[in-house]
Structure formats: structure tokens, C-alpha cells
Symmetry: C2
């Protein structure tokens, strides 16, 4: 058999020798490759794979690595034959679409779209492995969504086109991850590059003696005209793109992922780790950012090409799965409860030297869509926690839902239109579920719910990844009760007659943008603003300066310029603002998280908040952790860094 193409350094040599000793000769090993965080065994005897699955699992556990088995290229059936075999092997109720079976010759993978992708995998991956044994192709199941995501299709077909490069890329990353190091790390430090004492442009650099990893790399969209405030401090010398080991993205909001394409434009060719939903949603968000900027004639320092490069170098990870991202850093992502695919990042550093939990944005209570954020970890020495609502309390989710249903009910009763401006990614899907359930439970009459804007594309992504949603929602979807495909939803695409839609009374309209800064929502508002029977309901944050904020604060006249003419609009509809739908933990939840997290950290670093939120939160937890019943044996260090401060986590203080 052949060893990896290049000369092995010591670390990989040891691993390979260990593997050679353990792998049953019957498999007839062709080669061993390090591809990204995975070690891939290419075997000639594909039929033997299933027999030795447990053996290989045991080996993987022993060497604490992700081990994957593939048939060597010579041991694969020709695609047409393989396709026939697959259609035989896969259970009928998976509902495979025969026209969407696609072969990736470089990676030896076959992508199979099915209505029930889980059936392709089978319990304990058993069917997946049967397909591999019988055809030599490794099946990658995909969900045939009832709502088609254009973005996902584009991403997948691009990845397929570039699969040769991608294999090279993965092998390069694999080498880097498993490079030799001396494991006598003596420090771990984090540097605030953005999103400290502020919200927007989140970015944290984690450095050890061996490695450098970025946690998030966001843009402050609100400050986009001021490069000094819009982008994180990535021209700091500590970030040299050629020596960066990994970018880790918690979720798809632009304040966390928006600047990653710029890094690739600067020449970064290393991996970016995120969940699959985050990859898809990020692509949607960033593409929209670029397109809006172009439409408005604003400069943005990267384009769609850089976004594609980012996607090409993205390595998806799943919740609760341990992944090597550097010789001395293991990454695990946990559910953050914030938006679809959002993650709390856990870094295990230097064979136990230090463990970091970075919450990203998180919600420490369950919602319709998502389970509550995880708060238990194998180890934690440092907690980096978001503080958006460090100074704000919100009403409960139940109260918020009740308030929404009440307003909608009253508006329907008087035959008005309910307009709910929504963000593309965030609360939109949540509100959809609430409204649908309210109709099902007959709390409100069955009216049409019109949905227009980017939110539809995002809903499609949700239906592709039920496994990232709350257990109850996921189970409902598996049972075939997908709330997003409810008959009550009317998806508006292309140039429709909005004036006709507002004539369908009573009805509900959900449209972007969430703060009335543009998009169809503004158009709908113009059409119903003067109607006293209708209602405008804000369910999200309205930033200073936006039309949404002005109306929320009491402005009752809008001046618009439409086709050259000045139009003054009286606002006679009811205006409501409902708090409690936020995807962020409120003050009470934040403090509770610090008290509940297991085990207890000895450093707590506050980020993602305005100074008032940060300092209020710091004061609260500083008091809380001193309570003998708090569970904190020793008082942790609390840090409130500013941008470009670094904190040495391993210093004794």
C-alpha cells in the first residue's frame, strides 16, 4: 500500500504505524490519507468493510481521531452500475429521486437526494456502509426539501465541479493539522479583534505556542461606511493568513461571518469550520450583503468569487462531534439555541492545558424552533460569553406569543391586515410556527399568511436540516407534519401585485426587512399605513436611525419620494412592539447561564454588548459568583476587554 504522497513527519508516521498494526489484513488496504480532520482508509476489498466496522470504530477511539473508510478508486463500480445497485439497496420509503444521484469521482462519494435521507444512512450508519461495500461509493444523503433552496443547489454543484481541488485542499489541511509539535504549550491567549464593548464585527483570535485560530469574523453592517469600525482588526500582525490554522464560525449572522470572504481575498486558503446550516445561511446572507451594496452603489471589499472560495474551503462539522483543527486544538460545537445551525464553540487545547467555551450568540431557554443552549461541557477553564442583553430583561416566550396572538386576533376580527416585518434569518420561522399553531388550535381564524423576501429561501434551508431544530419540531417533520409547508402560508415570489395582496382581508403579511430599511415590508406598509383596522407588529430589535425605530418611537407621518413625487403618509394603523422573541438570552438567562454552566470556569470574558450591557452584566455576575450557593469554589476572574486587548488565559492571577 502507499503512504500519503509526501514524506511523513513523526506525528503522522506514528499514527500510520499504529493503524497498519491494527487494520485487519482482509480489508486489503490501498492507502491511508489525512483529509482535513479525517483519516481516510482506502481499501481494495470493499465487501469486507461492513464486517470490520466495529474494529475500525475501536481503532478510531483508540487513536482519538475521526477515521473514515472508502473503497480505493479501483474498487468502485462504474457509476451507472452503482446507481442501479443503490436503488436496489436503499429502502423504498426513503423516496430517492433517481435523477439526483450524483457521483464525485475525486472524493469517491455519491450524493443521494431523498425525502427521508435518514433511511439512506440507516441505524448506526448500517445502510450507508452496505452501499459502500456493494458499490465502492460512499453515500452522502441529502434531503429533498419540499421547499427548494436555490443557494443549496448552487453550493452543491459548485463543490462538485471543484472536487479535485477540494481533495487537494483537504489533504493539505490534514497535513497541517497533524504536523509535529512539541506538546509543552505554556500559554493560551485570546485577542479581541472585534465585537468587544460593542455589537458587530465579532472576531476573536486564539493563540497558543503552536497554533492560531479565529473565532468568528463578522462585519458591523451599521457602520459599513466607516472601515475603521465596520471590520475587525485583521491587519494586526498576529493574523498572518499563511499561518492561521482555522476559522471557526458560530453562526450565519453577518456580525459573525460577514468578513470571512475578505480573508480568502487576502489569500487565506485554510479551512473554515461551521455547521452545514450555517454554511448555507451564511452564503445567503453574504450574497445579499454584496448584492445590496452593489445596488446601492456602495463599496464592499470582496465579491461573490471570494464567497465561493470561502464555501470551497469550508469543512462542515456536526454538533457534539470532536474535530482536530490544529495539532494542539480540538473543536466541538454544541447547540446554541440562537438560530438554525448556531453553535457554542468548545476548544480543548494542548492535551488538557486549557478549555475555552465561546457562546457566540445564544439563547438559554427553548423556543418553538430550537432547544435551549447547551451548558454542560467536559471541561471549561475560560468562558467567553455574549452580553447583548446584559442590561435588559425580556418578557417570557409564552407571554410574547400570547401578546402576538391577541393582536393578530383583534386585527382579524376587524378585518384588518397584520404586517410583521421580519429579518431574513432569525425570528421569521419562529413566528411562522407560532401563527400556524394558533390557526391549527383555532386561536385565530384560518387566514392567509403571505410571506415575501429572503425569508423564504431561509425557510427552505430549515426544512433541509430538521436535525438542527428542537426535538419536538424535528419529530413532527419526521412524522411528515412540516409546519413550514402548511397550506396557510402563501409564498410570494417575483413581481406580484402587492396592492392585490393587501385587498385579501383579513390576512397576515410577513416580509423583510425587519427594521423597515428596505425590501417588500416598506412597500406593504405604504399600502396599509392609513388603514385604522390594520396592525404593524415589530417582533425584533429596531436600531437607532431606522424607519422601524422611528415609527416604534411614535412617528406618525412618513414622507416618501415615489417616482419623483413627494408622498406624505399618515400612519393610522396600530403599532405594536413585542419583546421576548429575541434569539439572545436576556439578562436573567445570561446570569443563569453563568451560574448553571458545568464545570465552573476560572476566567469569564464578556463580549458582544454595548459598554452599559457589559458593565451591568459584569457587576451582576461578580456578585452572583461570590454567593456561597453559586457553585463557584473560587471567585473567577471577570474580564471586560476592549478591541485589541489580549488576555493570557493561562496566567496565574
Amino acid at each position: 500500500m502507499t503512504l500519503p504522497s509526501d514524506i511523513l513527519d513523526k506525528n503522522r508516521k506514528t499514527l500510520v504505524e499504529l493503524l497498519l498494526k491494527e487494520i485487519p489484513p482482509e480489508l486489503n488496504l490501498a492507502s491511508i490519507e489525512f483529509e482535513g480532520p479525517e483519516i481516510v482508509l482506502y481499501v481494495n476489498n470493499r465487501q469486507a468493510i461492513v464486517k470490520f466496522l466495529d474494529t475500525i470504530k475501536a481503532i478510531a477511539k483508540k487513536i482519538r481521531k475521526r477515521v473514515v473508510v472508502r473503497a480505493s478508486p479501483d474498487a468502485r463500480l462504474p457509476p451507472e452500475e452503482a446507481k442501479k445497485k443503490i436503488l436496489e439497496l436503499v429502502p423504498k420509503d426513503a423516496n430517492v429521486d433517481p435523477n439526483s444521484i450524483v457521483f464525485d469521482e475525486t472524493l469517491g462519494e455519491v450524493w443521494i437526494k431523498a425525502e427521508k435521507p435518514g433511511a439512506i444512512v440507516g441505524k448506526g450508519n448500517i445502510i450507508r456502509h452496505f452501499v459502500l461495500a456493494e458499490t465502492g461509493w460512499r453515500p452522502v444523503p441529502q434531503r429533498a426539501s419540499p421547499l427548494e433552496s436555490k443557494m443549496l443547489n448552487t453550493i452543491m454543484s459548485n463543490l462538485l465541479k471543484q472536487s479535485k481541488y477540494r481533495l487537494e485542499f483537504l489533504r493539505r489541511v490534514g497535513e497541517r493539522i497533524h504536523r509535529d509539535v512539541i506538546f509543552k504549550n505554556n500559554y493560551v491567549r485570546v485577542t479581541a479583534l472585534g465585537g468587544f464593548m460593542e455589537v458587530g464585527r465579532s472576531a476573536i483570535l486564539v493563540e497558543t505556542k503552536e497554533s492560531r485560530v479565529l473565532l468568528d469574523l463578522g462585519i458591523n453592517v451599521g457602520a459599513i461606511h466607516d472601515p475603521l469600525k465596520a471590520y475587525p482588526e485583521i491587519d494586526l500582525d498576529a493574523i498572518r493568513v499563511d499561518e492561521l490554522d482555522a476559522v471557526i464560525v458560530t453562526h450565519s449572522h453577518l456580525d459573525h461571518v460577514g468578513v470571512v470572504p475578505l480573508l480568502y481575498k487576502y489569500g487565506y486558503r485554510g479551512p473554515t469550520y461551521m455547521t452545514k446550516p450555517t454554511r448555507e445561511l451564511s452564503a445567503i446572507m453574504i450574497q445579499d450583503l454584496i448584492q445590496v451594496a452593489r445596488r446601492e452603489g456602495r463599496d464592499i471589499p470582496f465579491g461573490e468569487k471570494d464567497l465561493s472560495t470561502m464555501i470551497l474551503h469550508t469543512i462542515p462539522v456536526e454538533y457534539d462531534e470532536v474535530t482536530d483543527v490544529a495539532p494542539d486544538i480540538k473543536l466541538t460545537m454544541y447547540n446554541a439555541g440562537h438560530i438554525l445551525g448556531s453553535a457554542i464553540v468548545h476548544l480543548h487545547i494542548g492535551m488538557g492545558l486549557h478549555n475555552i467555551v465561546y457562546t457566540g450568540d445564544f439563547k438559554y431557554s427553548s423556543t418553538r424552533l430550537l432547544d435551549k443552549a447547551v451548558s454542560e461541557f467536559p471541561r471549561v477553564e475560560t468562558l467567553i460569553i455574549e452580553s447583548t442583553y446584559g442590561a435588559t430583561k425580556q418578557q417570557s416566550r409564552q407571554a410574547a406569543e400570547q401578546q402576538l396572538v391577541d393582536i393578530v386576533k383583534r386585527t382579524i376580527e376587524r378585518r384588518g391586515v397584520v404586517l410583521i416585518p421580519v429579518f431574513a434569518v432569525g425570528r421569521g420561522q419562529e413566528i411562522m410556527v407560532v401563527l400556524n399553531e394558533a390557526i391549527e388550535k383555532k386561536l385565530i381564524p384560518p387566514v392567509n399568511i403571505y410571506i415575501e423576501g429572503l425569508i423564504n429561501e431561509v425557510t427552505a434551508i430549515h426544512t433541509e436540516y430538521p436535525e438542527y431544530m428542537s426535538k419536538s419540531l424535528r419529530d413532527a417533520i419526521y412524522r411528515g407534519e412540516n409546519p413550514f409547508t402548511s397550506e396557510h402560508f402563501k409564498i410570494i415570489e417575483g413581481d406580484v401585485g402587492r396592492p392585490d395582496i393587501v385587498e385579501d382581508r383579513p390576512s397576515i403579511i410577513m416580509a423583510t426587512s425587519g427594521m423597515l430599511t428596505g425590501g417588500p415590508a416598506v412597500d406593504y406598509l405604504r399600502l396599509i399605513a392609513s388603514d385604522e383596522r390594520s396592525s404593524l407588529i415589530f417582533v425584533g430589535y429596531q436600531a437607532e436611525g431606522t424607519l422601524g425605530r422611528k415609527i416604534k418611537d411614535g412617528m406618525r407621518e412618513i414622507t416618501n419620494v415615489v417616482e419623483g413625487k413627494v408622498e406624505v403618509l399618515k400612519i393610522n394603523l396600530e403599532v405594536h412592539s413585542i419583546d421576548g422573541f429575541s434569539g439572545h438570552s436576556d439578562q436573567t438567562e445570561l446570569v443563569r447561564y453563568v451560574l448553571n454552566i458545568k464545570p465552573k470556569p476560572r476566567n469569564i470574558i464578556l463580549n458582544h454588548g454595548e459598554p452599559n450591557a457589559i458593565y451591568t452584566f459584569a457587576r451582576l455576575i461578580s456578585r452572583a459568583v461570590r454567593d456561597p450557593s453559586s457553585g463557584y469554589q473560587t471567585v473567577p476572574n471577570i474580564f471586560t476587554p476592549s478591541i485589541l486587548d489580549s488576555v493570557n488565559l493561562t496566567a496565574s492571577r
Copy 2:
């Protein structure tokens, strides 16, 4: 005329164009070169130089640069002719040694050794310039010291041998300093690399968007067996030797300069800035460090070659003189009052964006040897202050002197020997001045004062640089009353009969090492330990674990192995320890410095102290600056960083 050899970038082009416009044609300019921080005008008409001195001074002021005029090589007299001319021109009472006139053809300098080097310079540099005009050689006066420094001679002859390389080096540095930058700096941050929450291995990295500068780079000699604690964190990625603009050394103690040679071993070829006395004393200290390590069979990761490389790349600066060290950083050194040549560093960054004062080690009261540290600066936003005695008060200098004189007097009266262990660089010269004055003033009888060890070499350096000592001492030396050449001092060199010396009773012996860890002091102690009439006087800090500390703490028996035999020594002599001779500010002086500094900083960073000293000092000043009468309009931020923490000085907090 020729422009600098390489293609000029914009910044230097602008400077050159400005100069070309302003320089009188009569000078007949041959070329303009950027040599280190200086701009050198090479002129063909050397006779015209004196006439235009004021013009050139005005130009220098206008462009805010150091401008130096030299005759072009073609316009210089042949060395023999020049020598004759020099002996004619220089006032007779300078007492020039004709055999020590040395020509450096590459730099166009002539080194002239004289008893009164000031006479070669003349008031307002006038004689210096006459020599230049008449011979074409730029005179560099040197003091013919009554005590010869071997180290200084070695340094000077090495520099001469390598003067061609040095010219290339200076031009390379000149290019780098005047490189093009966009002056829109938006941050200044400092990183603690060593000497924070501890004493030893002082090192601070200052970073701007354009530049990187190191302040000090010391070794923790006490931890020399543990590389993780002995050396600063210079393998941090932020320090890339090829992108470092400058190393700035405050003074010659090993905890501030000891690791600079290692940087050159790592490949650094940029400049190190320090005062001339610091250069000479550092060479002595580092050479001793290397030799002792070799003698004791200990590993030290650099050698004499690296020390020479450091000296070769050292650019001397004088107190109160502004020097460009990076495109956006100007350095000024001020008297620190700690040891000869010690400096407080002032950095003026980014055309006024930020100003840093770093005290290094400093004494905020005057001593026999040195004036009190400077506390007034053009601007200060950040003060980085040493905290060695943040938790300790010391008696006054007068009280300490009185105590010393009393003990010596009593010992002499009973015909004993006074043994004073001293550090090579530090209090030795101070004690010498005190004892000499006491004899002159007849406070004690005129006994012999034997001096042995490295202290003698250091005393020689002191007499070379009277301009770095206190005004009163300097004036005395100019008047010919050099206390260091007093007849009472008997300098012991080579293998002398120490038993004979202790027979000269009564007498005083000053010898290294200061903590009785080795050196002649230990030998002398053995000889007089059992003698009840004699006295042992500690005048400096005795570190944990040293023989000095044990005796100070009450141990009255020493077990020695001499030539294979175990020898038990009873200590019967009187043991005294006098505080108040320290070169560090004590607690009261530290607090007073924070209150007196002008203008008032808005950030105060504490370093160079054990945690207890740091926290005590932080508490004291945090209270002091809140007093309305403190002069602080707003309460400054007080930082107590650990190693590898960074502080963004320009963040709004």
C-alpha cells in the same frame, strides 16, 4: 549630486526635495544619505560649513529631523595632515593624546581622546565644526579616563574594524525609519512579554499599525535554569525579528538588557538604542554573564559573538534628544536616576496620536551619583511604571549614609576591617563617593579602601561619562576633583594576597559579588569572619537562598569545602544591613511620582514588581488619584497585566 543609492520612496523624496531647496548652494552638496536616525549632508566645500551652521540648524528644526553635515570623502585632508591640523586647532588644555587620534574612513570621523573632551567640542559645538571645516573629518571626542576601561577600548576598536558594515547598517536603518506610511494610525497597544507581576526578564512590545518596538529585553538570572521563566516570551508570533523596528534598552542591568544578544542570534539585524554608558556597562554585564555560565558549566543560548553583533548594531542616543526610530515613533530618553546611563523612555507615536512614558527602573530622589528622575514630559497618555518597592518603605539617603559612617567609624576605632559586598553596577560607586567624602570631611580617619572585582571596570566607565552623573559630581570632575581617583582607593587587580590585605588594619574592603554568591567578597569574608572587631555591611538587596541572605537572617556558622577539606567558620564579626541605598524609588517616591508627573496620564500600567508590590501600589495610587487635589482631572485607568496580556492604549474605556 547623488541621491541615496536606492530608489527613494515618497517620504524620503519629499525630505530630499525640501533639503535641496533650502541648502545654500555655496556648500556644494555632494550627496544626502539617511544614516540611522540622522540625515547626513555630504558637502564638497567643507570651509563653508561653519558659516551655514545656523542655517542647517534651522532646516533641521523645520523638518524635525536630526541633520548632520560631513565633508564628502574627496573633500577630506589625508589623515596625517589632518592630525597635524587637529593638534593645532584644539585648545591646549584639552590635553589631547596624539597617539590616540584615530580615523574612521568609512564614516569620515576622527576619534580624539583628550582629558577634557569638552574642549574639543567647544561652546555650541563651535570647535568641533572648525575641525570639520579645516580637515573634512568630523571629530568624535572621547574622554581619556584616569581609570582605563578595557571594555570600552575593545568596543571602540571593534566598531572601527567594522565601520564599513556599520555604514551600510545605518543606511539600511535610515531607509526603514523613513519608509512611507499612511499616517492614519488608529491604535497603539503594548504587550507584556516579561517583567510583569514579577521582577526579571523585563520586556514590553509596543505595536502600532505601522511599527513594532521592543522596550527592554532582560533575563531573569535567578531562574536561569528554567527557560520558561528566565527569558521573555519572544517566540510569540507578534515579534518577528525581520519586522521589528527597534529595541530600546533603558539601562544595563541584566533584567533589562540580558537577552538582546539572543535576538541577534535569532537573526535580528535592526538597531538597538541606548545611551553610551548603557552600551558599555551592558557589554560588561553580559560578558560576565556568559563567562560565569561557562565557568559553572551552565548552558546559555548565546555567546560573545552575539554580544559583539549587538554592540555593532547599537545606536547611541543622548538624554533629551529626539530620535526617529520608526516612521511613526520618536524616541526621547530622560535621566532615570537609577544607575549610570539609565533612562526613562518617552515615545511620541503617530504624529501625536499617543505618548508613552516607560520609567524602566528609576529613583525619584537625588543621590550622590545621580540626579533625581525626570518627571516632566511634553505629553503623556500612558505611564508604564516600575513597582519594585510598591509595598516597601526605605529610610532616607541621609539616614542611610549616617548609619554607614557610624558603623565604619566604630569598626575603625576598634581596628577592625569593614567588608562591604557590592554589585558590579549599582551602589558601589555611590558608596565610594560617600566614604571618600567622609574621609575628606574627617568624619572617619583616612584608612585604605580596597576595591576588588568587576566594580573597578565599572568605575572606569563612570569616569568616562561625567555628563551622565549628577550636576554636582559632574562639576567636581570637570574641576579636576574626581572622587573615583582619590588616593584612598586601592584598586586590587590580578592575584593579590588577600590575607595580606586583611592584615592592613583598620581598613575598608569593597568587593563583589553583592549577595556573597561568589567572587572575592566571599574570600574576604572567610578571612575575617571570626574576628569580633570587624564588620560586614550589606548595602543592597539579598535574594532568597543566597549566602548573603542567610547571614543577614542570622546564620552564624558557614560550612565551606576548601581544597577538599570541610571548613566550619564561626561568624563573630558584626553584621549590619543598611536600607536606603537602593537605586529604586521606594513606595513613597513611587506614589509621589504618579502625583507629580506632568502632564497627567490617562493610563497607568504597573510592571517590575512581585504581585504583592503591584497590588499594594495599585491600591495606593487608585486612592491617591481620586483625591481632588491630586491634579488628576479624570481618574486614570490602572492596569496590572500578567505576561502575554496586551493593552490597547488608544481604546476608549
